[in-house]
């Protein structure tokens, strides 16, 4: 356990600001994404989509498509290639959409795959796809948000849909709320929105002697492999998934999607490689979205602002094709502030829509938005400073479980970001500042995201030439995994960065978990450390066994790796280069693969310290301070300034960590101001199906964003002290923007996004003068 306080050797690269090791490949066009591969004899597949949301296909005329030049095959439910769709999730993979692909003539949602056309070229496949003629017997879609019955989902991340905590003697949380001197009761709406990574989904399937190589951008190599193996009825060892670079994912590449099976089965059927690249428009129908939420939040506080009761009741949309739960209350009100009485409830309702799935900060993003807006409303009601209100409600223990947090520095986030922002100069009253035609407002909100770990393996190989390789079946979604793995291995081995190379994105490498829940870095880096230490142990044994070595006779504990060799801790001048040890011993390379099992760490002391979710709560926090300008006549809102402080444990690389927060924050700016996947409540069709109508932020929408990391490394969580960083940036900022809009204009908008018409309505109501 002594290693906890002083990681050995002292990290030089971990925590520094380092340019990405894959940067050169990315700026020269050499990074290989799935669609960049091209194989001899490859054919192209294009999907044909349903244009109704519910009903049956009564006829599907494929004659013209089949006769179209270059067409190799047209697959429909009648001649589906051999697939055994695994509709039940197992621990080995995830599927969001639980419908057999090309299953039968039934239509469950708009944009469902009804046929796949395979042709010699993309142009030919696309043309022929347009010639497939379905005739439908349409039924009324279940498309009105208010229409379907509300129902309790199953477990939500292992918790019940209804959670309640009551102070002794309190009859109900509602009673406690009603008895509170200051009360807020408001309902917040967040719309369906879409991930839209810049790289569309893609797949290339290539069979050779009964074995499949499958190129696809995925967030879980082993998950995709296991899914394909099950769905194609082949052993998992006969499936290799490759995903060297993933062009953004944000959750929509986490589940395996059924089209992957169709592409692989078609390639098997045709005995040639088949390539499929999803059209941008189909990225809106086929690969998940964030559900719509309606969240009723009730907060009750005493006159000093101390929370007495919190109720957070969420309804989120789901699909007949998949029941993903956007657990807003659980992931926000369940973790943020101390309160003696808390009640959280979740209900879902099923629409005729494609299956939703997790999207960056699932639950937290809409949940923290609602809670943090309600907190601002409570501060207004109490005439309290919003930061002060939060400070009086800090808690050292998890609000629901009562477990102590491993490390929590939310108050420090407020202080650091608030000072940088200049919060102390904020006018208390709204509508106090105008610059020309623009109302100026300042708002703030807290951010929060849970810290997760899963089992992970990594392999480290040290070569006789003094270089090293580190590998595991994780991947880099833009998150910087290549870089932080290289940093970690280099630090452990005492090598400069350039001497270490990282390999990722191949399911034949040691197993790594799903890259989601911000868990990758925190899960795989401890395994990298262990593997590197195992390699060094072998090397130390070799060195100490050599009677002529300057290190002869020293115990492994007396040696350390530094500057490309081993040296005595007590006397650094006693040293031997790695190359010399290899030469003497005749070994060509030393290799070790190690596995971390967080759940077993209390028993297995090899990997310090012990991760213990049964006795400790792990959660990251942060604060956003935002300045907005709102045009007094048009209601246009511009985010002018963002300052954030994040308590995420150890930032592993200041450069890439900052980028992760920027990315999350800009996701939040999009959610706050522009992103809204319009869903037609009559037909069940998506209306926004391109990036011209679905507005993700562009450069001109994004101001400078000031990011500071606060708080110490969290060595109670793992041996690198890092709790994960990919999602927390997309929590809280939309509330901070809304709170700033209120401060600018006096208009409180309770439905995202904060588009001009919603603000303008309030502005004219308030008198726009």
């Amino acid at each position: 356990m002594s290693d906890v306080a002083t990681p050995h050797p002292a990290p030089k690269l971990v925590g520094a600001s380092i340019s990405r090791v894959d940067a050169r490949r990315k700026v020269t066009g050499q990074a290989d994404y799935t669609a960049d591969y091209h194989f001899a004899r490859q054919a192209w597949a294009v999907a044909v989509k349903s244009t109704i949301a519910k009903g049956r296909i009564i006829a599907l005329d494929t004659a013209a498509a089949e006769k179209s030049p270059g067409v190799v095959a047209v697959y429909t439910w009648k001649n589906r290639p051999k697939i055994y769709p695994p509709l039940k999730e197992t621990s080995g993979f995830m599927v969001a959409e639980k419908l057999a692909p090309l299953g039968d003539e039934t239509i469950h949602y708009y944009g469902q795959d009804i046929a796949f056309v395979v042709a010699e070229t993309y142009e030919q496949a696309r043309e022929a796809a347009g010639l497939v003629r379905p005739t439908y017997a349409a039924e009324p879609a279940v498309a009105r948000f208010s229409e379907p019955k509300r129902e309790a989902p199953g477990k939500i991340y292992g918790e019940k849909p209804h959670l309640e905590k009551k102070a002794p003697g309190t009859a109900s949380v509602t009673d406690a709320w009603e008895a509170s001197p200051a009360r807020i009761d408001a309902t917040y709406i967040t719309p369906m929105i879409h991930h839209q990574p810049m790289e569309p989904h893609a797949a290339i399937a290539k069979w050779h002697t009964g074995r499949l190589t499958f190129y696809a951008p995925v967030q879980w190599m082993y998950g995709a492999r296991n899914f394909l193996a099950a769905g194609l009825a082949v052993p998992a060892e006969d499936v290799r998934v490759i995903s060297h670079f993933v062009g953004g994912a944000f959750g929509c590449k986490g589940s395996s999607w059924m089209f992957m099976l169709v592409i692989a089965a078609a390639a098997r059927d045709l005995d040639r490689p088949v390539k499929f690249v999803m059209e941008r428009e189909n990225m809106f129908t086929s690969v998940g979205h964030r559900p719509r939420t309606s969240q009723r939040v009730q907060l009750g506080a005493d006159a000093a602002g101390k929370l007495q009761a919190m109720r957070h009741f969420t309804e989120s949309s789901a699909s007949e094709a998949g029941l993903f739960v956007e657990a807003a209350g659980h992931r926000a009100t369940g973790v943020m502030y101390g309160s003696p009485n808390i009640e959280i409830d979740h209900q879902i309702y099923k629409l005729s829509v494609s299956a939703p799935t997790f999207m960056r900060a699932p639950g937290e993003s809409p949940g923290v938005h609602a809670l943090e807006t309600a907190m601002d409303e409570l501060a207004v009601a109490l005439k309290m400073d919003p930061v002060q209100l939060r400070l009086v409600n800090m808690t050292a223990n998890h609000p629901m479980s009562g477990l102590p947090f491993s490390s929590r520095h939310l108050d420090e986030c407020y202080r650091v970001a608030g000072e940088k922002f200049g919060w102390a100069r904020r006018a208390a009253a709204p509508r106090a500042t105008r610059e020309g035609d623009w109302w100026v407002g300042w708002g703030m909100a807290s951010a929060s995201y849970a810290a997760h770990r899963s089992n992970a393996q990594a392999r480290v190989r040290l070569l006789a030439d003094g270089t090293a390789e580190v590998a595991c079946a994780s991947h880099d979604l833009g998150t910087g995994t290549y870089t932080i793995m290289t940093q970690t291995a280099a630090d452990e081995l005492g090598l400069p960065l350039e001497k270490v190379s990282a390999t990722l994105g191949d399911s034949t490498l040691p197993e790594a978990p799903f890259s989601g829940g911000s868990q990758s870095a925190g899960s795989i880096l401890p395994a990298v450390q262990m593997a590197a230490r195992s390699v060094l142990t072998k090397l130390k044994t070799l060195a100490a066994a050599d009677a002529k070595s300057p290190l002869a006779g020293l115990a492994a504990d007396d040696l350390e790796a530094a500057e490309g060799g081993l040296r005595a801790k007590s006397n650094p001048s006693r040293r031997v280069a790695f190359a010399a040890i290899f030469e003497k011993s005749g070994e060509g390379a030393l290799e070790a693969t190690e596995k971390t099992e967080p759940a077993a760490e209390t028993k297995d002391k090899r990997e310090q310290p012990s991760y213990s979710p049964k006795t400790t709560a792990y959660q990251s926090y942060g604060a956003f301070f935002v300045e907005v300008h709102v045009h007094r006549l048009t209601g246009e809102t511009r985010v002018k300034r963002v300052v954030t402080a994040m308590d995420i444990g150890q930032p592993l690389n200041l450069k890439t960590a900052r980028s992760q927060i920027l990315g999350g924050a800009v996701f939040g700016i999009g959610a706050a101001l522009t992103e809204h996947s319009l869903f037609d409540e009559n037909s069940g069709a998506w209306i926004t199906q391109d990036l011209g109508t679905y507005h993700v932020p562009v450069n001109a929408d994004v101001p400078e964003i000031d990011v500071t990391f606060v708080g110490p490394p969290d060595f109670k969580f793992n041996s690198v002290g890092a709790r994960g960083i990919g999602e927390i940036g997309n929590t809280g900022i939309s509330a901070a923007i809304g709170n700033a809009i209120y401060h600018a204009t006096g208009v409180r908008v309770r439905e995202l996004p904060f588009t001009t018409e919603k603000i303008l309505g309030g502005l004219s109501h308030e008198g726009a003068a």
Partner: protein, 206 residues
């Protein structure tokens, strides 16, 4: 080549401009100057062969490539699938994301909205042709230094736009850079770092 006019509504030059005109019809009047000139003065295109393919020659990164394509094939698909230069990315295939940005005679152009047959005889530059051997172009180096990307998928397009943005004289002030780089979406949202990279490259090449 220098221009201080606001974003032009020409196809292939700018996402917002494209959205403004939004018809999606490729009319000669809307083509970038170089392509327009070619469309007006070029000899009639060779007749398609029996296979329906037309032979074309494209000059990409200083090298001539001869290939046979269907007349409807875009410059983007030709680069990626026929010439095996996959550095240029397809993000949307209809002019809304900028991932496919290349230079045609020095101008930034959306290759997904440009038919390959329209670019014959032009000097086409893609991300693969920007570095001088091992030495990165100053804009590439600035993107590395400033972490002007995360997943890297939009990056070839961002860099081609950034090179043009500086060359056009649209990189003086931060807000000007933001505006003139807004035709390239980065969902990872490296935007503040992209602005830094454009400034750093501008100052290095100045």
């Amino acid at each position: 080549m220098e221009s201080s006019s606001p974003p032009s509504p020409e196809i292939g030059t700018d996402r917002r401009g494209f959205i403004r005109q939004a018809s999606g019809v490729v009319a000669v009047a809307m083509l970038p100057h170089s392509l327009r000139a070619r469309a007006e003065s070029a000899p009639p295109a060779p007749a398609p062969s029996a296979s329906g393919l037309i032979p074309i020659m494209l000059r990409v990164n200083g090298q001539d490539h001869v290939c046979e394509i269907e007349a409807r094939t875009t410059l983007l698909d030709t680069l990626r699938d026929r010439l095996h230069l996959p550095g240029t990315k397809k993000g949307c295939d209809h002019g809304t994301c900028g991932a496919c940005t290349v230079h045609v005679d020095g101008h930034r152009v959306l290759s997904c909205l440009t038919l390959a047959a329209m670019a014959t005889g032009a000097e086409i530059t893609t991300i693969e042709g920007l570095a001088a051997g091992e030495k990165l172009h100053p804009v590439q180096q600035a993107f590395v230094d400033c972490d002007g990307f995360q997943c890297g998928f939009c990056t070839p397009g961002q860099i081609m736009s950034a090179v043009a943005c500086i060359r056009e004289g649209h990189a003086h002030a931060d807000d000007e850079i933001r505006e003139w780089m807004s035709g390239n979406i980065c969902r990872c949202a490296a935007y503040p770092n992209i602005v830094d990279a454009v400034k750093a490259a501008r100052d290095r090449s100045a």
